[in-house]
Symmetry: C2
Subunit: 412 residues, 2 copies
């Protein structure tokens, strides 16, 4: 007998927020089971549950043991997986729940941010062979080599899903969420944004790390590395969604596939730095050591041995960055006159694999922004994206102008 | 190096209801640690958590899979054990949480009502040897031979605690609860009830099964069988509590140690049953087969081949009992004219190991009730207890009269 084809389906917290929604999820799973698939359903905790548990843990102590954090916080997924298994059984689907340690999902011991090192397939496959049609897996969870519960960090259920799809050679990994696919821009900013039928891993990765919240960056990386086809779809309708796949699968390659924006950026200028060889290391070495995530860097042309260096980092790391630089100055490893932080900035990016073969995207982008009189404060590029830093008040205007400029509107 | 003396401490749901109460619990544990004990702290779920989880499970399906019920419901103890471990760490006590599968606590596969078959001591002892001072164990939980989560049924954390105390040869098992010991009667009924310093296992077992809610019957049985000294104490004060121990440890044996009462009793009379040999089996066989928990039985003297048989059972089994008897009549295995159920009754009992050597307790009891003009509707006895069934409206009056009659008041 040939083994049944296998599908991995992942449901986020809003998709399993209550028992009513779980019934909707169960009917989606039933549809696939009736089409002949065995299903691995990976679930997040019911919306709100994880935050509530984190709140309890944080109230016990300022410096808490991450192993106990994991023991407590992982219970949200244990609950939702059991409840979804029950809901499936109630409509006649042979299902059972699996906690991380039961599969087992082996992870590193980096509690709170563990990485999956291995997923054993033996136990699940044995149960599939006995007639189980749906394995409801608690996402986000694993077990360390020491036998403690671990969690994968925020959004870890997406990563769990891709890891299961990889380990079980799943035909596809469907990520059900509260949006029905990947759009050319955030529809709240651009009402006529278009849903993409397909998008390449590389583009999705850029979009995810540039602020599109639809998929967790790590899960896209993992899918790309293991060539797992991801489908982003809605738990609340039956629309086809967006397929994230190898660019070979995409016939029509867009020059620009989408526009993304982030708001949690800050720009820090270091004023009157002595301009000498090795100064970049003297500035960015201490920042890296302090764990500051530096993104864009601009160095203005120097006058009389003094220069200004500007960089961006996440807005919640501004204090960290300032104290790292001041310590470096106190130690005498770098001299500067002052620091200025600007948190009213945002990053707007255009992304598309077609950029590799099309030139002129940058000048088209800068032209469109200039036409709106939007000042560009910093620029960074990669092979398939161009990002600019602009004042936050121009965010929506910039996104709309670029969406229009690159012909991404629904009517096109 | 001699191993440290070990104490098992159990905290119920009201004792760990919130983080504030957990801090009180932690300070009680710290006190014992500072006295030189290693501690196994067994915890229930935070008050209300288990009922909420049961509600969710019951909403998924009418006939739910007990294995998934256990997977979901057991998470309450996983949470509270992690949170208490964190609270202990915060006051400098080396503590960690242990879920059932981590110890492991091996149970039968009777999900929802599992029994502990083995507690492995190796893992905990290894951690104690490494410097762990408190193992915070999720009570109520275990793992089946198949590797599924199991739960021990209502009040199972008491049983967990006694099982741990047995496996680890704990010096004592302290059961912290919301009352500060075992009283001669329920203080809400008898305000001058007296707290007992010591009580024998046998008496505690009778009191527990006769309605005293302070300890779960199963845990007392287990403690008696393994000679684990139990101490019932309050989480909310530092009073010494009541020691439940072997009667050898009790110098002064009371004739009557306490008065207990239940309210969930029902009396069913089967009218005009044919009086012939084998009729008891014909009546009580079908009741036993249906799972009805028959307690007291009275058969009135028969007239002309017909008799009335009266028995008591839990009030929630009345319908079950009636349908079992009617089916038996329909099958022709027993004949009777009708059934009358009375749910306005209660059982009042006097318990004391001293009854073994003292006579006259029954007549003293009946005399005290007669003096109050309370009609006795049924009687049952064991070696160390006498129970009577009376109308529910006389419950408090009966308890007070007996408490007084046997000299149990505080002033004595």
């Amino acid at each position: 007998m040939l083994p049944m084809p296998l599908l991995t389906m992942k449901f986020g917290g809003t998709s399993v927020a209550d028992l009513e929604r779980m019934r909707t999820v169960a009917s989606k799973i039933k549809y696939e089971v009736e089409r002949g698939y065995n299903v691995i359903a990976v679930v997040s905790a019911m919306a709100g549950a994880t935050n509530k548990l984190i709140g309890l843990v944080e109230s016990t102590s300022n410096l808490f043991d991450a192993r106990e954090y994991d023991a407590v916080v992982s219970t949200g997924e244990s609950q939702s997986s059991g409840l979804l298994a029950l809901t499936l059984q109630d409509i006649g689907i042979p299902a059972r729940s699996w906690q991380g340690w039961q599969v087992p999902v082996i992870t590193t011991s980096a509690h709170g941010t563990a990485r999956i090192t291995q997923i054993e397939t033996e136990n699940l496959n044995a149960k599939f062979a006995e007639g189980m049609r749906v394995a409801v897996v608690a996402g986000f969870q694993g077990t360390s080599p020491e036998g403690r519960m671990t969690t994968l960090g925020r959004g870890g259920s997406d990563t769990s899903a891709v890891a299961f799809a990889t380990a079980f050679k799943s035909e596809r990994c469907d990520i059900y969420t509260d949006v029905d696919g990947v759009y050319t821009a955030d529809p709240r900013i651009v009402p006529n944004a278009r849903k993409l039928q397909k998008i390449s891993y590389e583009e999705m990765l850029e979009l995810a790390s540039l602020g599109a919240k639809v998929l967790q960056t790590r899960s896209v990386e993992l899918a790309m590395r293991n060539n797992v086809r991801l489908c982003v779809r809605s738990s609340f309708n039956d629309e086809p969604g967006t397929l994230v796949c190898d660019e070979e699968e995409i016939m029509e390659k867009n020059t620009v596939s989408g526009i993304a924006q982030t708001v949690d950026e800050a720009k820090i200028s270091i004023l009157s730095v002595e301009d000498r060889p090795g100064i970049a290391e003297a500035v960015f070495g201490p920042l890296a050591a302090a764990g500051v995530n530096v993104d864009m860097i601009i160095q203005t042309i120097s006058e009389r041995e003094l220069t200004d260096i500007t960089f961006t980092c996440p807005v919640n790391q501004v204090e960290l960055a300032e104290s790292a630089l001041k310590s470096a100055r106190d130690r005498g490893s770098v001299g500067f006159r002052g620091l200025v932080a600007d948190t009213d900035v945002c990053k707007v990016s255009v992304v598309g694999i077609g950029m590799r073969s099309h030139t002129g995207v940058a000048s088209k982008m800068f032209g469109a922004l200039a036409k709106q009189k939007i000042n560009i404060k910093a620029i960074s590029t990669s092979e398939i994206k161009i990002s600019v830093l602009v004042d936050q008040i121009y965010r929506d205007l910039a996104v709309k102008a670029l969406h229009d400029e690159f012909g991404l509107n629904y009517s096109n």
